[in-house]
Every structure is written in C-alpha cells, then in structure tokens.
Symmetry: C2
C-alpha cells in the first residue's frame, strides 16, 4: 500500500499553522474569546509588527482566525467555537502533570489567578468552572456518569435562573472541556457559554487585566451560593 492518505497534507498544513511558537502564543491569547488587534498581539508575542502581520495572514488563510477590519486596525479572533475547542484540546494534551514552577512573583500571581477562575474561550474554567460543574452534577442537573449531558431538571434550572439556552445549529447543549490546570472536565457547549455570558453580564464575575483570568464578585458569591450551594469565597 504505497497510496498516501489523501488528507495527510491537509493535516500537516493545519498543524504547521500551530507549530510556530509565535502563532501558538497568538492562539493562546485569543482563547479569551475576544478580538485583538495585530499590534497588541505583536507586543504580546514580542516580535516585530511586520512579522506578526505575516502570521495573521497565514492563520486567517488557514481558517483558524476570523478578521474584521476597522479603520487602520485589524481585529482578529478565533474563527469559531470548534477552533477554540481544538486549541483547548491541544493545550490539555501538553498540560504538564507536574505544575511548572513559575519564574517570577508576577508570573506566580498571574498563574494562580488563572487557576482560580478564567474563561476558556466562551465558558468558565479553572477551579470556578470545576466547582460549578461539580455542583450541577451533584444536584442532578448534569449527568456525567453516562456521558456528558444536561438532565431535564438541568434544563429547568437554567430556565428558572433566567439564563436562556439558544438551540443553534449543531453545537451541543452540554459538552465536556478538559481543564489544563485541574485536569478535570468542566461544562462547555451552549450551556457553558450561556452561564459564562450571564455571569459576566450580571456582574457575578469580572475580568482581571487583559487576559483570560476573572474573579468572582460579592454579588457572584451570593448568587453561586443561592443557586448552586457553591462556596466561591476563595475565588474572589
């Protein structure tokens, strides 16, 4: 059998897009679900703007990024949830079993804030994401023993909490996303995104700094306790 698999070149070309450290840094930064300008990404990655411009060209051409031009700015974001999920899966694969020792105090602070609570593209992750997922499961709202799906009671909980779940396209309502700090699954999919969006809109959580880390507010602490019995005090 000398016939080369027909999709080998495509697979290699896709992986090559991620196989560069600068482009990988961009994809990781964009996991916050927001749109960044080319200049921001260049500073973030520590390369010349001209270099980063070429990288963006490749990522957009490869379908990993979507771009939107506004005046002299070029905003890019991850193309879709599937792409974000793919990057998360890759990160989970390389997530170290042993936690790496941070080099500086600032890194240590940033790392622990990320481990506490952060967004994973469009849903909540970190210890907060795990705690909410565990609470949903413990109350019979989410079923993990036979797969990963909301129960009928779970559908009712979202409705009662005033969090609308839009059945759009083929995206699953609930889906497991492997957390790279906790190494445990947490809620993603339509329900995960809706919960995160609601938490940010109602002020249960606010973003810290310019990246993915978030923190729980006083209002959020009350809400998570009332609605799910989650003690989120340590995640403030």
């Amino acid at each position: 059998m000398t016939s080369r698999e027909p999709q080998a070149p495509r697979l290699a070309r896709l992986a090559a897009l991620i196989a560069d450290e600068t482009r990988a840094a961009c994809l990781l930064a964009l996991l916050d679900g927001r749109a960044w300008t080319a200049g921001e990404l260049a500073r973030h990655a520590g390369v010349a703007p001209s270099t980063l411009s070429e990288h963006l060209g490749k990522l957009v051409a490869g379908g990993l990024l979507a771009e939107e031009r506004q005046g002299r700015h070029r905003y890019v974001r991850l193309a879709d949830t599937r792409t974000a999920q793919l990057v998360e899966d890759l990160v989970a694969q390389v997530s170290p079993g042993a936690r790496p020792t941070p080099r500086s105090l600032r890194e240590a602070g940033a790392h622990s804030a990320m481990a506490r609570a952060r967004t994973c593209y469009d849903h909540l992750a970190g210890r907060l994401g795990i705690a909410l997922t565990d609470a949903l499961t413990g109350r019979g709202l989410l079923r993990q023993d036979t797969g990963f799906a909301l129960t009928d009671a779970g559908l009712g909980w979202f409705a009662a909490a005033g969090i609308p779940l839009e059945r759009t396209g083929r995206r699953p309502l609930a889906r497991a996303c492997l957390d790279w700090t906790e190494r445990r699954p947490h809620l993603a999919g339509v329900a995960g995104a809706a919960l995160c969006r609601h938490a940010l809109e109602t002020g249960w959580c606010v973003r810290i700094g310019s990246e993915r880390a978030v923190k729980v507010t006083a209002a959020g602490e009350r809400a998570f306790l009332d609605l799910l019995g989650v003690e989120a005090g340590s995640l403030r």
Copy 2:
C-alpha cells in the same frame, strides 16, 4: 503585557510533531488502532526506512506514540485514546466540505469503502457508525439533545445485548466524535469502543484490507436489524 504564555512553546512543539506530511501520514495510518512496524509505515509513507526511523523517534519522544520492540521489529501504535481523539479532531477540522474527486478507480473504491464503514481508532464510524448512533438515539437509548450521554435504557440495552461496559478511569462512557465524511457526530467513548469490539469479535463486521475500512457481514446485517432496526444491507 510582554509575558509570553508559558505553554506556547509546548503547544508549538506538539503541533510541530504533526506538522510534517510524513508523520501525519503515519498518525492517520495508526488511526486503525493497530500496531504497525517501522518498515510498514516507511513503505506506506513512501520514504526511506532511515528517514522514518527518525520520525518515529520524535513521535515516541513526544508522547504521541507508544512502542514495543519484538525481536528485530519495532511496533508502534497511538499512545492512548486521548491522542487518537486529538488526531481525529484535527482531521475533522480539515475535512473538506466538498468531497475531493479521487484520482483513480482504486482510490475511489477505497474511499467509498471507508465512507461506508470504518473504524475510528477503536469505534465504528462512516455511514455505519452514523446509522447505529441514529438508531440508538431514535430508540431513546442515547441522548443527544442535551449533550451526549447514554440513558438508563441505553445502559440496559448494552447489558441485554451482552456487551460489557467497563467503567475504567476517567474515559467517558459516551462521547461524540465528529465524522469527517458525514460531518455528523457518532458514538465514541467506552460504549463506542465496546460496540466496535463486540462487532468485530462476533463477526458482525470484518476488516477489509490492511487499513481502517470494514464491512458488515450477513450475520451483522441480521444483528443490527434485530437489535436496533438498522437496515445495513447497503453497507455490506
């Protein structure tokens, strides 16, 4: 923010392992779930044995492949189900919306056999995988509307059919795997693997040739009809 994401180098290095066309061809071939020798892979990929030896060294060192030495042979296989799932996800991302036109009759035949029924590492895919998944869903044994999980009736069906489901480690019982020919989810996870294994052991399906394609036998046609009402005649 000039701090580079700490896991960017790791992500890039992982992707670089897949970013070579020869290594990609190896990973795709190994998606059949079996162990190949270095020589077989070299012939399959169309490169010199010495070249392929170096590739295998990198893939093993990178944790994507597991190796087993037997005499003068070096057998390699995908390291674990998570790695297989990752490769499948990457393939799904690049799966062409428009079917590519095969270049030769033999390729066309191989492609259509793969589209009919094949294994996806350790579970069934292609039109057969979709048909079984649809049947399970239609009979209330698998729930896809709120995620992707077996129902209690589904657990009973597996027990009644004599297909044991081993709850091992963290691997989910049911999980969706996106099919790259049908562009629809089909059953993976512990249940998908158990069903595939049972189908091959009882002779419901047999492998065609040396790769992933399988075909349904007469016994399999009866079984699928009796157990799930699936008309698998066109998949023989």
